[in-house]
Amino acid sequence: MSLGQQVSDDHQLARLLQIGVVLEEVVESRAHHHIERLPADQQAELDEEVRTLLAEAADESADHRERLAELIERLDAEPVPYEEINRLVEAKYGQTAPEDFDGVLYDQLCNEETAYKFYDDLIEAIENSDTEFSVDTGGVLETLAEIRAEEEAGVEEVTTLMERRA
């Protein structure tokens, strides 16, 4: 075992990509819940700009998980079904839901930052490894770097919106 960031085999890579899928599914599911479950008085406040941001975030996560799922399948593993994670989010949403409108944006910011951090660490871990994976490592890194860049743009987008509304 290495204490540093490394990925030692296909199985471990597939497992980490599965975690990426779950993170995206959590983002997607929570974004839908935010839109649907805010108290009625705050639903009205949820203006078009924020609705669009959450809807786009959900769409982007769906796209990311599909791209990760392709990599996972190439590693002979299975992605985690969205319905399963949506059910878990649903079950715990009451305890973890943002209390108000500002909380929704903050939660979305955390989602984007967390995803960015995850892909950044995963890319570094793969680059630190001298493992020969059964899939094209360059292609995996390229996909992860593209997704990371989109998460970074997402962080900027939410931050800008929060600053404008402050």
Binding site: R15, L23, V26, L88, V89, K92, T96, C110, K117, D121
Partner: protein
């Protein structure tokens, strides 16, 4: 979880098992590194005020070290619970150890939104079994020979 946090967690668990300072050899076994690597990192953690080290006895966490170690253990518990209960990984202990260096505490916090974890975490972590005492683990497949 970075290397320092993995050491702090190991010292915390070793102190719990040994009911006293964590010996270098115990830490080397737990972390699967050389005793020389352990001594080097203990020195760094001591400089940062997270560990007290007494020659021939071992390492003990300071109050600040305990806080950091408990946070690291919570992150680890989330990873184990996520693997065992969401992905239904039978070998969740080994896999958690293998991937913990790539899972940051902010990532674990997100995963925490879909798992059940006790309020007393990480006090319920059992150092001997390397898992939460309340963790319901996936059932092993029945042996066809039975």
């Amino acid at each position: 979880m970075n290397t320092a946090d993995q050491y702090l967690k190991a010292i915390y668990l070793a102190q719990s098992i040994e009911d006293g300072p964590a010996a270098t050899g115990t830490l080397a076994d737990m972390l699967e590194v050389s005793p020389a690597s352990v001594n080097e990192m203990i020195g760094k953690l001591e400089e940062r005020g997270l560990v007290d080290h007494e020659k021939y006895k071992g390492a003990s966490l300071t109050d600040d070290g305990i806080v950091r170690a408990e946070e690291a253990l919570q992150t680890y518990c989330i990873i184990e619970r996520f693997l065992a209960n969401v992905l239904e990984v039978e070998n969740f202990r080994d896999e958690a150890r293998a991937i913990q260096s790539v899972i940051d505490d902010t990532v674990a916090e997100r995963l925490d939104t879909i798992i059940d974890r006790r309020a007393e975490c990480p006090d319920c972590f059992d150092a001997e079994t390397d898992a939460c005492a309340f963790l319901e683990v996936p059932e092993e497949a029945p042996d066809p020979a039975d």
